[in-house]
Structures are given as C-alpha cells and as structure tokens.
Symmetry: C2
Subunit: 248 residues, 2 copies
C-alpha cells in the first residue's frame, strides 16, 4: 500500500465545497471518483481543510492509501486525465505511511481577495469580493494586530460548527493594497468554520469606518458571534498553502 | 438624441463573440437587449472591435444613439441592473454626436496572458494559455521588434476575413514575465482578424526554440498565412483599452 499525497488546485465556483454531502457535488467526491476511474479502487480521501461552497484552492492537500504501480510523482498526470477541468492535481508524491493531510499539517495559509469598484467586474465576479467604497488600510492593519496570537475565536466562528475547542493561533495577517485590489493573507495553525471570512468581514467594516480598530479586542473577549462583522462572501477566499514539517 | 458611450468589461467564456450572429449568443445582443429592457427602445450598438468567441474585454468601447432622460454618467448603473453577471458597463458618458466607437478609435491595446505549467491550472483554464515548457523571453522580445511599425500583415491574418487592406501599424509589443506568467501587450492602430492570437502563437514557437527570431521578417515578407505559427487559443486574449483623441 502506498500513501499518496496530492496538492490540488480548484475553482470552487460550481461545487458545494470540499466535503462529501448528500445531493451535492463536492470536490472530495470528484477526486475520489477520478481515482476510481483511473485505478478501479475505492479510496477515502483525507483533506487538509474543508473549504466551503464557492471557495477556491491553490494548494489544498489530500492523501489516500492505495495499492498501485503508478509512481507517486507521476500520479498527477494520470489522475488529471479523469478530473474535470475545474479540479486538477498540481503535485503528487508518495509519502510516509504516517503522513495525514489534516493531522500532519502545522500551518495553513488563506488568501482573501477584495476589489474596490463602484460597479461589478465580470472577470472578478467568482474570484473576489467587491467593495464599492474606499477602505482605510491602516486602520485594517491596526485592527488585524489584535487577532495575532493564541485566542478564543468563538466570536469569529460561523454557525453549525461542532468544534469543541475554540482556541486557535493566528501566526500572521498581511494586508496588501495594489491599485484597486486588496489581499488579506492569514496564516494560522488551524481555523474554525468561516473564521477567515468573518475576520475579513469585520476588517472590511473597520476599513469603511463603521467600527474602530480597537473594537477587535472587545469582540474577541466577548466570545459572541453577534459582536463581530458580516461573513465575507465565499468567492474571495483561497486555501493557498498547507505547511508540513517534512516538506519545509 | 444622445450619443451614449459605454466601456464594457466581459468574461467571454460563455459567448460566441462580440458580433450578433444567428443561433449564437453574442455580447452585442446581450447589451442591446439590456438597453431595450431598460428603455424600451431598440438601438444598434457600435463596438470598437470585434472580439472572438471566449475572448475577454477589460475595456471594450461601444456607442449608440438614444432619446432618454437618463444622464450619460449614471447610465451604467441603470444598465447593469439588466445585464448578465458576465457583462457589465464599467463607465458610461454622453459624447459628441460625431463620436463613433470604431472610426474614432486611434489605438487599441490587447493583452495576451500565458502561464507556464506542466499541468492545467483550473483557476486559469478560461483566462490564460497554458504552455508546458519554458519560453526564451529574450528571443521572443527580439522577434517582436520585427513586427513593430507599418507592414502588410497578411501572414498574421486568420481565415474568413474580408478586409481589403492588410496594411496595419503596430505601435508597441511589450513582453513581461513574472513568476510563471507571461503577458504580451500589443498596441496598434487597428488589427486584422486573429492577428494578436497568430502573433502570440508565432512568438510562442520562437520562445520554445522551434523557430528563430529573424524568421519573423521573412514571414512578414511572404504575405502567406501558412508560414506563421499557430493561432493561440482565445481564452488568453483581452481587449484591454481603446484610445480616443478626445479622451487622451
């Protein structure tokens, strides 16, 4: 049995998210089906993180166990023949048997893309979040500093979550503006459901002046979702990279 | 009667191109339909350039005559309510009655996007041209210099064209590489059918070493389409900007 690791890029626009759900088309099911078509073997794919409907990935990582003669390094080429055009493996390799895409991950990087425009931009409609007024980047940066470190992130967790511990560690939040584009890059050990989107929504409300940067501190302390901002829409979010000790 | 000018951005993926055709959905028809829904008036839209199926625009320009009380500057907001999400007006204004989107244009800028990867990239599949090996940028730049200026571009014209004069003037070709992305930006007075895509295909063949840069000179002189390279696929091409004297 080989333990095969895949790095996947996908356009999440037409999917209900990573995880297999009844009556919905998931990324996980598409990849498992493609592996079946290629190898005639049923596998269970372990993903590093569950992305929501319409959320994209540049570097989702997954692994699965399989008895195959296909070498790990070339598995991606064979698999891509069976994957739809909006999901592809950009890297594959055989990894040690104790490698687990989720539990072995030591850090994840998400990117959230915003564009400033008074009209919708067709080429960005599925790939970024439109804001129709200017954002004060300095205030957003100041606010983001309160989120760095280990905190109880209950106030930044979406509904329908069954995670017991709400303690998470954010390593960095980098906010960059270039022309009409703003990228918010968040790195952390792991994330609660909708956490990056709620952080983004709250930072946007600070950027437009609806809230003050120091409010973040109070929102964190309150441990109450009702105090934080809106959940930014899914199409602006990208799972960019998953970090592992053995690959760093 | 007002002469209204629109700057349009569109995602050409799901369209047969700019121009109205039988049994095909065109950008022009979509915009004319939206104007009809908004104003209950039938207009004929004049476009600056005809983009092919799957080709995108960041700054297509069009104009039309209409009797309306809607101010030129705010026409875009009203119109966007009736346009599909993959076509939007990003600018609108009332212009002098002798303004003609095509005949008044003095220059156009096209951008062609290439990415280098040994696997298809789902997020780029509809928005760039995949090349699976390295390109020699210096050779491509050297080759592009032969195209600058006024020439007979018969060798770079696609089939099914009914243009009489094949003389065109290219003002500049700028080739930029950043990480795995290569942008070819071409500015010229006007263009023959498929001209930017055939120029790109030929430059790619020079970049991979299949042809030498100086060949371009002979290809131009031969005035024979069979001597130039392949037509690069449509999804990498963007009509970026149309220039007019009155707006410069």
């Amino acid at each position: 049995m080989k333990n095969i690791m895949l790095t996947l890029e996908y356009d999440g626009t037409n999917y209900s998210g990573w995880q297999i759900q009844d009556n919905a088309n998931s990324i996980q099911a598409e990849v498992e089906n493609a592996i079946y078509k290629l190898t005639k073997k049923e596998v269970t794919l372990i993903g590093a993180g569950r992305t929501d409907a319409k959320v994209h990935a540049l570097g989702q990582v997954a692994n699965f166990f399989i008895d195959t003669t296909i070498p790990g390094r070339t598995f991606k080429y064979a698999l891509n023949e069976y994957l739809p055009e909006d999901i592809k493996a950009v890297y594959s390799n055989e990894v040690p048997e104790d490698f687990h895409a989720r539990f072995s991950a030591i850090k994840k990087r998400y990117r959230y893309k915003i564009y400033l425009s008074d009209v919708e931009r067709p080429l960005l409609r599925n790939y970024a979040y439109q804001i129709d007024r200017n954002l004060n980047i300095n205030n957003m940066k100041e606010a983001s500093k309160y989120l760095i470190g280990t905190h109880n992130f209950t106030s930044f967790e979406g509904r329908r979550s069954f995670t017991k511990s709400k303690i998470r560690t954010i390593r960095s939040i980098d906010i960059k503006k270039r022309d009409e584009f703003i990228d918010i890059v968040v790195e952390g050990d792991s994330f609660l459901r909708n956490m990056v989107r709620i952080i983004t929504g709250t930072l946007v409300e600070i950027g437009i002046g609806k809230r003050k940067p120091a409010e973040i501190k109070l929102i964190l302390q309150a441990e109450d979702r009702r105090l934080s901002g809106h959940t930014a829409p899914p199409q602006g979010l990208y799972l960019e990279k998953v970090f592992y000790k053995i690959f760093m």
